[in-house]
Amino acid sequence: MNWNCTNTEERLSDYIDGLLTPAEAQAFKAHAAGCDDCSKMVAAVSSLVTSMHSLELEPAPPMLVNRIINATSGPRKEKVSWTSWFTTPGRWVQPRFVVGLATVAAAVLIVVYTLGFTPSKLRKANLSPLDAFRSANRSAHLTYARSVKYVNDLRVVYEIQSRLQPSNEPSPESQPMPEQQSQPKSGNPQEKSQTGPKPGHSQARTYAMLATYVNSGWVETCNASTRLAFFAAPMSATNRSAR
């Protein structure tokens, strides 16, 4: 059989795919064995085809199937019963669930300890409905009484502050010099309005008021926070005027 380079190139795929007759295959091989160009071409294409046949399919993008389904038939609507929430695997180890559970537990603990409940002191008798009701009733009344007392204390503090703040009487030791008033260092008019009560005068008035209320027994009723607020007012006024 007369076989040349053109035949080899035209029938190369038939040779690779095994579609040549035995006679054609023999002529093909005989020509390729004696022709450098054809031999290289046959080797290169055979190697390429073998490589392509051995190649695995590329993995599809993870969300491709869902994306196609959403674009065609729409998202699947499954019937979800309420029990499936508990039976869904991994539901209990989701970070948002764990964080939520921890937050709820912390909130419950804070409320329980605020109400004076101590788990270590829990007895079986405490679990009876009557005792629980009495305990809750007592806690509710105590809480109400504390709230009333707190509001009353606040009223006293506001009373004291309202009597101290409106005083505009100048104090002799903190009276600025007339030259200083006529020549302010800064041209900002807001600075004048920001000057607070004079420290010497405020402290004197504060101590006088304090003595009055100590005598009347009001201080005993003030809790720590209201006392702090009471003393904080003249001190902050002193700091502002010092600046």
Binding site: S51, L55, R67
Partner: protein, 189 residues
């Protein structure tokens, strides 16, 4: 009745799960055809979605006499790819071998991004580079025959060309692809 035909029948009866099964079964293959043809994963993903959208709309018109469902699916995929290729032809540099050869060095350096190398095996990446240099007619013939494993008769149905043309395109495609890879210094073993 073959499994795909049964699923198609169930789809036409309104069973959503049958359509999902069809998508799951063929999405990877369709994506691979699109990816090998376009050379771009994002573009291939969009094209795959478009293919299944077309299939979903035209499923009632499918008859088993048209051929097996995978062959029909491949035909739809191929037709959409050709349409897409024609639509975007103006935006691309010509794919003819003569024009591409002088630019191979530059294109190779830009195409071999770390992301791509991480996603693909070296052989797959090399073949993809070579395929992108082939003309669309030869590229689709090689993809269907050597990467999708279709028989000549199936390719003839998909491409709607005579068997002699199919064989000729496959043969020329293989030889040109080997030459391109050789010119790029890539020799898949």
């Amino acid at each position: 009745m073959e499994p795909d035909a049964q699923l198609v029948h169930d789809c036409l009866q309104g069973e959503g799960s049958a359509w999902e099964e069809l998508v799951r079964r063929h999405a990877r293959r369709v994506f691979n055809i699109c990816y090998r043809f376009t050379g771009n994963r994002t573009e291939a993903e969009d094209m795959s979605q478009e293919v299944f959208l077309r299939i979903y709309k035209t499923l009632p018109s499918y008859r088993p006499s048209f051929g097996a469902f995978p062959t029909w699916l491949t035909s739809v995929t191929r037709n959409l790819l050709v349409d897409h290729y024609r639509r975007t032809k103006r935006d691309r540099v010509t794919d003819s071998m003569e024009d591409v050869m002088p630019q191979i060095e530059n294109k190779e350096s830009t195409a071999r991004t770390p992301d791509k190398l991480a996603l693909e095996s070296e052989l797959s990446a090399q073949l993809q580079q070579g395929l992108s240099k082939l003309s669309p007619e030869l590229r689709e013939a090689v993809i269907l025959r050597d990467l999708q494993g279709l028989e000549y008769g199936e390719i003839q149905t998909v491409l709607q060309v005579p068997e002699g043309t199919v064989k000729s395109r496959i043969n020329r495609g293989r030889i040109e692809l080997a030459k391109i890879l050789d010119a790029m210094g890539l020799r898949p073993n």
